[in-house]
Structure formats: C-alpha cells, structure tokens
C-alpha cells in the first residue's frame, strides 16, 4: 500500500553549475538512489556505441 504507507516527496538538488536537479522518493537518500537508475553502466570498450548520445 505504497502511497498510503510510504508517501514520496519531490526534492531539488543543487548542481555545481548553479542549476538544480529534480529527484523524488521517500527521503533524500531514496531520491538519490532513484536518480542512479537512470544511469547505464558500460565498459569503456562500449563507449563508441554511445558517443553520439553524449551531451
């Protein structure tokens, strides 16, 4: 019964470039963990496959 027993909140984290990053979760730590889900772990040998996506 997630939203009743474990409500989530939105957080804004300060970035070094002065902007903010939106994250959300049950706590700031949970929010940071969820942010890590959007990262894909790759080996350096795979890098060329992703170069065109870097920004």
């Amino acid at each position: 019964m997630s939203s009743f027993s474990n409500p989530h909140y939105m957080y804004l984290f300060d970035l070094k470039n002065g902007k903010k990053k939106l994250a959300y979760g049950q706590s700031p730590e949970d929010a940071l963990e969820i942010l890590s889900y959007k990262f894909v772990k790759i080996h350096q040998r795979q890098l060329q496959e992703y170069v065109h996506l870097l920004g």
Binding site: M1, F4, H8, L22, Y24, G25, I34, K38, G55
Partner: protein, 470 residues
C-alpha cells in the same frame, strides 16, 4: 461537408461576433482514425455554457470538422473574437488557427486558455496572435474576460471554482457536431460514440478534478489546484436527464482518479443503483494501491454499480521503473489488483454475468528502464486474465516533473510542432525503440513466458496493435 455544422455570425445580433474554435487534428470529426479522436472537450462545454448563461453568445467551429486549412479559414472568417482551449497536443493546430484568424479578421481578438498556457507559457507568449492568454482554470474568469477583454493584461491567471458543485450542467448541444454522414449516423451527438468500452450512446462525465498523486509523467496537478468533488446526486441527476432526453447506453467517468475519496464512493455505491434510471455500465479509473487499501469497497462497486471497465495505470511491472516514475505503487500492488479483479470476474462469470475487464495504461521507453524491466512489464500484461492494454512510449510532456527535467537536459525529442499523442513516436533521446518494437511484436515471448504458468504462456504474444493514444 454537412450544412449548418457551424453557424455564421448572425447579422441581427448586436455586439461582437464570437467564435469558439474546438481544436484537434484536421478531419477527426469527418473520418477519424479511432474513437479517442472524437472525444468532446469538457472545458469547452463548461465555458461555453457559462458564457451563454450570462448572455455572451458564441458560435462553434472545429478544426476536427475541417478537412483542409482552407476550410478552417472559411470557418473563422467574419468574427471579432476567437476563443480556444489549447492543450499541448493541440498547440500546433491552435497557433496556426490563430494566425489564420488574424489574416482574415485583422482587427479580431484571440483569447486562448488551456493546459499549454500553464505548462509552456513561453511558447504561448511567443505567438503574437494570442492576444490574451489565460493560465489555470477559467470558469470564474471567462465571463468577465469575454465581456471586456481590454481590461485584462495579456497574461491572465484564471480563477476556478472551489468545488465542482458550483459548476452548471454542461449544455452538450454546445459541442461540435460530426461532419460526415457516415460519422453522424453512429455518433449519437450531442452524446458520444461508442469506443469499445460500452454500448453507445456514450456519456462522458466528470465527477472529480485533479488527481492528487505526483506521478512524474503527468502534468495535471501543475495546471489546476484540487477542488471539491461533484455531489453524487448531481451526477445521477445529470445522467437521468441525459437518458430521458437522448437515451444513454454507457458511461465514461473521465475523472483522472475516480477511485478516491471513499466517503464519496460509499455514497455512490448506495445511490447510483437506486436513483439512476438504469444501472449503466461505466469505465472509470483507479490505482493499484487504492484498490489494495480499500479492496472491499472496490469489489462492491464492481459487483453492485456495474463498474465493468476498470482503468488502472499499472504503467510498469518493475519496481525499479515504478520508482523512476514516482508512481508510489509497487509490483505487489499491481498483482494484488490483477488477482482481485480476476477472482471477482471468475465469480461473476460463474453466476452468468459478464466479467469486468482492465483498461490498462502501460508505458514503455522510460529513461532508465532496462530490457529486463520491460520484459517484466509485458509479463505482467500477459499474466492479466481480462485486459485491454493501452501501451504507449513514454512522452516527456512539459509541466510534468520528469518531462521538465528531460527537456532541461535536452533529451526530449518532442517539440511544439509535435506534441501530439501518437503512442509509437520516438520521444526521448537514448531510448532503444527498436527493442520495444520487437518486444511488442512478440520477439521476446520466450523470456516473457519465464515465470508464467504454462496455461498463461499460450496467451497472446503480439501487442503491436495495443499501441494506443494515451
């Protein structure tokens, strides 16, 4: 083109000639691709009703009733004021219509409101043809704005009612008509055509506004604040009126979240079966965690009020992804709800009754989703016994939390020219859409079947046709 689908300005009427332009893709009220393109705009209906009740008459035209932009040009000519409700997915049509209006009515005024004004004000302001832009709800602002637009600044913060109890019943004859004989025959105007959820004529109705949860793919609660729910008896009275006047086949309760506020639902459970002229079947939405919170109430509503198409936004079968989208539901909540409705459906079938089905919103292509997450999602869909899956690729709409973040990071492929809701468009940079197309075409059925009982493994494996407009 059918005649008299919109009335030209009456020369006997005093005062400015006002036209409300219903927005949507050209031809959607002529030869639509599907049922969802034919839904009527409740915002338009409510606001036109309010204007007319206050003596501010308007004509109606629709880009959906036109096959070409030349037809739109003809439809808007001769008016002093153009009113439009602009959503993100109708923004391209809206601003093009505004430009055409100004070409044929150089002294005319364009008043635009709607969701896009709130979530992407800068895009609206960049269109000089929008003379007045109203953000947020407009029902407490529209009459004064239309009566004296010059007394308002260009950007207006609209005021809404505190409760839907303050709203008048929408005059559905103020909605645009279908514009082909073929469509008109089965449209049941001013009610709406059947869409696969229940028999026509269909009544779409709203009992509550604004879902209070904070799913990050949704932008609704960035648009309007919470407001009081419509009284149960007012909803039933309207349904009875519509049935008496036009005959009702089924209902779509188009609330973002019908299954909330248990005291209201309890009253609905008591009164709808007793006070409605018929126990019309209806489509309405819930959440997996609210079903798990109130399972007895859910079961009673299904069995006693003919809630036979249950829309649940399962979205994903992976806890990882459910957390990414801040759904605040878990895999366990989803499966609890699936199993509960399966059991209820089996009981009802054993009694010779028709079992309820899920209309299930499923999202794929969410940033951070792995192949395994997506396979878990399709496994959940396949596991579900009675389901009409509505599958879309995630779309980073402005105004939604995740959408705003992805737009800021430059990862959104959506632009003001293509906010439309086509479900299989590639909308986010870095997502492997080819994988998802293959997934929906059944290429990974073997992986999906792992963990499923053998009887279920033989259920459908191809879901490409389940990609639907959200």
């Amino acid at each position: 083109m059918l005649k008299n689908l919109w009335s030209k300005p009456s020369s006997s009427e005093a005062g400015p000639k006002r036209l409300w332009l219903d927005l949507g893709d050209l031809g959607d009220l002529v030869n639509p691709a599907g049922p969802h393109e034919q839904w009527q705009d409740h915002g338009l209906g409510l606001l036109r009703t309010l204007l007319h009740q206050n003596g501010l008459m308007t004509d109606i035209a629709s880009t959906r009733a036109c096959k070409t932009w030349d037809e739109v040009r003809q439809a808007v000519a001769g008016y002093d004021i153009l009113l439009m409700n602009v959503r993100s997915y109708t923004f391209p049509v809206g601003y093009r219509s505004a430009k055409i209006f100004k070409e044929v009515n150089p002294k005319g005024l364009v008043l635009a409101g709607g969701m896009h004004a709130t979530v992407a004000l800068d895009e609206m302001e960049a269109i000089p043809e929008f003379d007045k832009i109203c953000q947020g709800p407009g029902e407490k602002t529209i009459v004064d704005l239309v009566r004296d637009p010059d007394s308002f600044p260009r950007v207006i913060l609209g005021q809404g009612a505190k409760s839907m109890a303050e709203w008048p019943m929408i005059d559905r004859t103020l909605w645009p008509k279908p514009n082909s004989w073929k469509l008109a025959r089965k449209f049941h105007w001013p009610l709406e055509p059947e869409c696969g959820w229940g028999p026509g004529p269909v009544v779409t109705i709203i009992t509550s506004r604004v879902c209070p949860w904070q799913c990050v793919f949704c932008n609704e609660n960035s648009y309007i604040p919470n407001m009081g729910r419509r009284p149960v008896e007012a909803v039933i009275d309207e349904l009875n009126f519509l049935d008496q006047k036009w005959g009702v086949g089924s209902i779509v309760i188009h609330d973002s979240m019908f299954f909330q506020n248990p005291s209201w639902l309890q009253e609905w459970l008591e009164k709808y079966p007793r006070q409605a002229r018929k126990l019309w079947p209806y489509w309405a939405a819930g959440r997996a965690d609210t079903v798990r919170q109130w399972p007895e109430l859910f079961e009673a509503l299904i069995k006693e009020t003919n809630w036979n198409t249950v829309s649940i936004g399962f979205e994903s079968g992976s806890d990882r992804v459910l957390r990414i989208i801040n759904k605040e539901c878990t895999e366990e909540d989803n499966y609890f709800t699936i199993d509960l409705l399966s059991r209820i459906g089996d009981e009802m079938e054993a009694q010779g009754k028709k079992a309820p089905v899920f209309w299930s919103n499923i999202m794929l292509g969410i940033p951070g989703e792995t192949h395994e997450d997506a396979i878990k999602t399709m496994r959940m869909v396949k596991y579900t016994k009675r389901i009409l899956p509505s599958i879309s690729f995630y779309a980073p709409y402005p105004g939604s939390a995740l959408g705003n973040q992805l737009i800021a990071e430059g990862k959104s492929r959506m632009t003001k020219e293509n906010y439309h809701r086509f479900p299989d468009d590639e909308k986010v940079v870095g997502v492997d859409y080819q994988f998802y197309r293959e997934l929906l075409a059944g290429k990974f059925d073997h992986e999906i079947n792992k963990g499923l009982p053998s009887l279920i493994q033989h259920r459908r494996s191809v879901y490409s046709d389940a990609l639907a407009k959200a």
